[in-house]
């Protein structure tokens, strides 16, 4: 929330060679859902520089605890217990305070709790699969959950998603809005996945792979993975190009 020194500059331009392009035919759904015309570029205006900021008052006590936030009293979700933690920073390396993170995932068997999902793996009656939190003054966040399973999806005949957690991130400006996916260190499925491979640059893919972090485990309870998220940096407002006298 408190953005120590109030910043109002435009955001750095997105490097669209680093992000996945819209049209990635090995990920079949992208074929008819990708614009064919060029994007219209213009410098950020007030409409892009501003964005919603959420207070801690929206959060419930268990919002960042997926092991318990859907479980019946006294029960907990089944699976490998993990802590996911990290820091939201911007391209200048500055912590992004007050950033709302929302995450969602399948259960330990790779099954999502969703009407449209028909995978044979069973639902866990004590696992919902959603959580959220807000970064602290330095940009740090944490939540606990169970490690999601891999699951098959109707793309190729035998395509499986690697274990992953979806992240939705709000920074301070609406054009910092980002949705991405976190993968787990050492998962061999990462490199086969057409959704992962929609990202052209191997180094960019590696930015989505969380490291096993034994220093932050809770012994006899949960292992930890560290996942830092980088949002667009913003320019300093050194000089503004306003019409004189305006």
């Amino acid at each position: 929330m408190s953005n120590k020194k109030l910043e109002t500059g435009a955001f750095f331009q997105r490097d669209r060679q680093w992000h996945p392009p819209a049209y990635t035919p090995d990920y079949k759904t992208s074929v008819v859902r990708s614009p064919q015309r060029a994007l219209l570029s213009f410098d950020n205006t007030l409409s892009e520089i501003t964005g919603p900021v959420f207070g801690h008052s929206i959060l419930g006590e268990l919002d960042n605890d997926l092991i318990h936030n859907f479980a019946k009293p006294g029960q907990s979700a089944i699976g490998q217990r993990i802590i996911v933690h990290g820091r939201v920073i911007d391209e200048r390396g500055k912590g992004v305070a007050g950033a709302l993170l929302e995450f969602w995932q399948a259960n330990a068997g790779g099954r999502y709790r969703h009407k449209r999902e028909g995978y044979v793996a069973a639902l866990d009656p004590n696992f919902g699969g959603c959580g959220r939190t807000i970064t602290d003054e330095e940009g740090y966040y944490r939540f606990r959950t169970v490690k999601p399973g891999a699951y098959p999806w109707p793309n190729g005949v035998n395509d499986w998603r690697p274990a992953h957690i979806h992240f939705s991130v709000f920074g301070h400006g609406f054009v910092q809005r980002l949705i991405t996916q976190m993968y787990f260190e050492g998962d061999p499925m990462i490199w086969n996945c057409p959704i992962v491979r929609s990202i052209p640059d191997k180094a960019a893919i590696e930015q989505l792979v969380a490291a096993l972090d034994m220093n932050n485990t809770i012994p006899m309870d949960a292992r930890a993975y560290k996942f830092d998220i980088v949002l667009r940096g913003r320019r300093s407002t050194l000089f503004e190009n306003r019409v004189e006298g305006n």
């Binding site: 992208s30 007030l46 709790r113």
Partner: protein
């Protein structure tokens, strides 16, 4: 050698996937009891200032089929042209207006609906006014990076004609893809991801 510029790379985007609702609108997809209400459902309350409007529409793929698994977010100024954001330095926005809304497309019909107010004028960077507009962000299965666009209004013809963003669009026949059409009490804004009527998307 010159001095080194030390910048990090932005975390790359990935598709929101077909189950985006689980994380962003859990109540909508039947996950009850975790959050009281889905975020972004209510932008206005009974005290909100300005003209109440409904914005509805659908998102079509390149075959003309509506997306029934998309999620839209909108961001706009209040009726006085002020944003409810810490980066808004011109004054305090209407405390009864969030400026931000989120709506999944209907799982059967593909329709999205926002109950909001008509935004006021917001200055462009050189001091000219931008016509009333609403910023839109669209994610879905098959969309690798969120698509950004704007909604303008067809009853703001004079302001639209002077809008610095609309004015710079080279292919004038594409401008109407950014203009919502009034139908009764609602503005209809259909989005075409691909093809002949492709909506103009931004790199901002």
């Amino acid at each position: 050698m010159v001095q080194k510029l030390e910048f990090l790379k932005e975390t790359p985007s990935q598709t929101a996937g077909p189950y985006v609702h689980i994380g962003c609108t859990p109540n909508f997809c039947g996950i009850a009891g975790v959050y009281e209400a889905d975020l972004g459902v209510a932008m206005v309350n009974e005290k909100t200032l300005g003209e109440r409007i409904t914005i509805r529409g659908r998102v079509f793929d390149g075959t003309g089929t509506p997306l029934r698994d998309a999620l839209l977010e909108i961001w706009q100024a209040d009726s006085n042209g002020l944003y409810n954001s810490p980066s808004e330095l011109r004054g305090a926005a209407d405390p009864n207006f969030t400026g931000w809304g989120r709506c999944p497309t209907n799982m059967e019909t593909g329709e999205f609906v926002f109950e909001t107010v008509k935004p006021g004028l917001v200055p462009f960077n050189d001091g000219r006014s931008m016509a009333p507009h609403v910023s839109v962000w669209i994610v879905a299965r098959g969309i690798n990076i969120g698509l950004q666009t704007r909604i303008y209004f067809d009853d703001e013809e004079a302001a639209n004609a002077q809008d610095p963003i609309l004015m710079r669009i080279e292919h004038k026949n594409r401008v109407p893809t950014l203009v919502a059409k009034r139908e009764g009490s609602a503005f209809v804004f259909d989005i075409h991801l691909q093809g002949d009527n492709e909506t103009i998307f931004f790199d901002v």
